[in-house]
């Protein structure tokens, strides 16, 4: 029985949260990796673009709530996401036309594009803060828990409860659907294949008659969808604050690079690698060992490898180690 309790404990505090957090990171990481693979620059505006999309989701959610539309037990935000995506994609296409296109046509070095993306970061940040303000916003409604800790305890008669938030389940399901559609698109459709070809070898792709304008546009559309959904899911699960989103850029970058930048599947897994290592290394295992070990060997300390303050630092350290020993990422494979 103690053993089952220990497993439930780990599920509750490590596995489920890490899976949800990892999914959110994974979406962001695929976004980064797509931009890097096809448009060939490190997009420092990632976090702020995600907050931009989320902002529209929130605004539409509030609008729907005010006119009395709801989605039953599910959060209203899910209904608002498509509208958010439309605005987000529009914004990205405008930004691309006004800013990035010039450098792409001039074949500027990636470093210059990265610098430009910092300018975009500043502008996006300003727009978001001017429209919705810098404060913390929650826009979740509907049923909060799928399984409550208390109910679970009653049901199974265990000491440890397993609480699963509905946002966590939604996050995981939406991510799986989105990512599998994306992979299907990249691997099976003609457009997807031409995107991969373009990312692999630009000149060759152009020679074989692939229209670069179309590729770039589709990339931004996919990126916009990923950024909005990733941002909205993060905001539903935790809360929306522009500054947090800016900071999330860092673990997202870490995930993209750990997975091998330019490789969407790597980025997908990279998100989970980062999330799990962050949580595994900063969790206090005391209770777990209390269940598993006999009473005489019970630990007195927290058995925590690192204090939770270093949560971010963990993912960065992993990234630095990966960059140094395997700059092409853990999951090499083909480019895009």
């Amino acid at each position: 029985m103690d053993f089952v309790n220990a497993i439930i404990l780990l599920l509750n505090y490590i596995f489920v949260p890490a899976l949800a957090y990892g999914s959110q990171l994974a979406l962001g990481a695929i976004f980064v990796t797509l931009i890097y693979g096809i448009l060939r620059f490190a997009n420092f505006a990632t976090g702020d673009m995600m907050s931009f999309g989320t902002m529209f989701v929130i605004l539409f959610t509030f609008y729907f709530q005010s006119i009395g539309i709801s989605f039953g037990v599910l959060p209203t935000a899910l209904l608002a996401i498509p509208f958010g995506i439309i605005f987000m994609v529009g914004y990205m296409l405008i930004i691309d036309k006004l800013v990035f296109k010039y450098y792409r046509i001039n074949k500027s070095p990636p470093v210059q594009l990265a610098m430009v993306s910092i300018g975009v970061m500043f502008v996006t940040q300003a727009v978001v803060r001017i429209i919705i303000g810098p404060s913390d916003r929650r826009f979740f409604d509907g049923e909060k828990f799928l399984i409550k800790a208390g109910e679970f305890k009653e049901m199974t008669g265990l000491n440890e409860g397993l609480a699963i938030k509905s946002t966590q389940v939604i996050t995981i399901i939406v991510t799986l659907i989105l990512v599998s559609t994306l992979f299907w698109f990249l691997n099976k459709t003609k457009t997807g294949k031409s995107m991969r070809a373009y990312s692999d070898n630009e000149d060759l792709a152009l020679l074989s008659g692939i229209d670069p304008k179309k590729i770039v546009m589709i990339t931004w559309v996919i990126a916009g969808i990923l950024a909005t959904i990733g941002g909205a899911l993060y905001g539903l699960d935790k809360s929306f604050k522009p500054f947090t989103y800016f900071n999330n850029m860092l673990p997202i970058f870490a995930a993209a690079i750990v997975g091998g930048i330019g490789n969407p599947f790597g980025a997908f897994l990279g998100g989970y690698v980062i999330a799990f290592s962050e949580i595994l290394l900063t969790y206090a295992y005391r209770k777990f060992f209390m269940y598993v070990l006999p009473e005489s060997m019970e630990p007195d300390g927290l058995i925590q490898l690192l204090s939770t303050d270093y949560k971010f630092a963990v993912s960065f350290s992993i990234l630095v180690i990966v960059l140094l020993y395997r700059p092409s990422g853990i999951f090499k494979g083909k480019v895009l």
Binding site: F122, A126, L250
Partner: protein, 456 residues
């Protein structure tokens, strides 16, 4: 003279703007902008050496700034004797163990061939080392943090004048840069950017959470000053007479004696804070000028030519027998050390060390905006960038407010749009920075004062 006309013009306009702020807002504001402009200028000199001279992207400026600030604390704060007596030994012993561990790992890496066993042994040493160090340091850290936590709770510093920390800050930052450079400089440009950005976040995390060293988010306040205190100045005879002399025409107009005394007191209070800021300006100006002379000399020296050659064509420079790796490391360390000086100067001026305030937007990206807007590769340009951008960063709010009022003049004062826009005036600075950066990168990619290298 003629060819420097644009430099002179740009700097005179900048000075004119600051003087205008002095006349229209107050001299206090003008001087605090000027001081921070000078500090920003030091940072941009550092970033410019790395990016403009050598083409290295360092997005870790925030980390080096924070290390400089840490140096200011460790140098100037008086040592906390009690903390040293309860936990000093554990800390010192842990430091010794860390050094021993690093040396052991280095020894193994150097003297044994690459093999699976070597990797395992190195991993074992690191893991064991961390466990042992935690066991030894934990009681010490707890004891130190328990010593009067409201006031101290850390080891304190050396109790030396804070000015020394400017040099020490440079060494701290340079040391960290050496370690980072050793491991990360081989990366491609954009990877280096991301790696340094993340490493600087790790540095901040450590500074924020190692309370025994830095007091963490509890902040260190009331650092010693290299300049006199306002309160003391207000009671000094010569200062009061100085203020009287300066404002004699104004004071002579007032006939009533008590009123005259009251006005004088007011003027003395204002004058004292201006005077203190002027002292800082003087100190900072000396640093900026020294750095400017040195970097200009370096730029036109054979070494500077070599750096540009490496920047423009690494392979060719390598083929000519220049040690690219070594030079990159050198310039990375030098630039970061200069940023460290700026970090120490910043904390010196503020008189407090707040680890929570180090954010990448303000201390990394803004500095980059400065370098790029000003003109990378040109020291005068980089410094000008520091001035222009910092000036706009501060004055963006009043300018934004003015613009909002202008564009919404037709609307009622209580109109929701107007109220909302006025509330969000502080964020216009981000917009201004972003648009400024984008416009400069598009239409004047070399910055306001572009790099100009004369070939004699």
């Amino acid at each position: 003279m003629r060819k420097n006309l644009n430099v002179i013009a740009a700097y005179s306009i900048m000075m004119g703007l600051i003087i205008l702020v002095g006349i229209f807002q107050s001299w206090n504001i003008a001087l605090s902008i000027f001081n921070l402009c000078l500090i920003s200028a030091v940072m941009t000199i550092g970033a410019n050496i790395q990016w403009g001279y050598a083409g290295l992207i360092n997005f870790g400026i925030m980390g080096f700034t924070a290390l400089g600030g840490l140096a200011a604390v460790l140098i100037s704060v008086d040592p906390v004797q009690e903390a040293w007596s309860v936990g000093g030994f554990n800390i010192l012993f842990s430091l010794f163990l860390i050094t021993a561990m690093v040396l052991a790992v280095r020894y193994i890496l150097k003297n044994y061939k690459k093999s699976k066993n070597r990797t395992y042994i190195v991993a074992a040493i690191i893991i064991l080392g961390i466990i042992i160090i935690r066991f030894i340091s934990e009681p010490g850290i707890e004891a130190i943090e328990g010593v009067n936590p409201a006031k101290t709770g850390f080891l304190g510093g050396l109790g030396l004048p804070i000015i020394f920390s400017w040099v020490v800050g440079a060494f701290f930052a340079g040391g960290l840069a050496f370690v980072i450079g050793k491991v990360a400089l081989g990366l491609r440009a954009d990877y280096l950017a991301i790696a340094t950005l993340l490493i600087s976040e790790i540095v901040i995390a450590i500074i924020k959470h190692e309370d025994w060293l830095t007091r963490g988010v509890k902040n260190v306040i009331g650092l010693k000053r290299p300049a006199p205190y306002e309160v003391n100045l207000q009671q000094t005879e010569w200062f009061i007479s100085l203020v009287e002399k300066f404002n004699s025409s104004k004071l002579n107009l007032i006939t009533d004696l008590t009123e005259r005394q009251a006005t004088l007191n007011q003027l003395v209070i204002e004058g004292s804070s201006v005077f203190v800021k002027l002292c800082y300006s003087g100190l900072f100006l000396v640093v900026v000028i020294i750095l400017l002379i040195l970097t200009q000399k370096a730029l036109y020296s054979p070494w500077g030519r070599m750096m540009r050659a490496i920047r423009d064509n690494e392979e060719a420079a390598n083929a000519m027998g220049k040690n690219v790796v070594k030079q990159h490391l050198l310039i990375f360390v030098l630039g970061s050390a200069i940023v460290g000086i700026a970090g120490a100067m910043l904390v010196t001026q503020d008189g407090l060390f707040t680890p929570g305030s180090y954010r990448p937007l303000r201390y990394t990206f803004l500095i980059w905006v400065m370098v790029i807007i000003g003109g990378s590769g040109n020291n005068f340009g980089a410094i000008l960038g520091g001035f222009v951008v910092w000036f706009l960063w501060i004055e963006a709010a009043p300018i934004g407010l003015y613009l909002v009022n202008l564009t919404t003049a037709g609307l009622d004062d209580t109109h929701f749009l107007k109220v909302h826009l006025i509330e969000s005036v502080p964020y216009f600075r981000f917009l201004m920075m972003g648009v400024g950066l984008l416009v400069i990168m598009r239409y004047r990619p070399k910055g306001i004062l572009p790099e100009k290298i004369e070939i004699k």
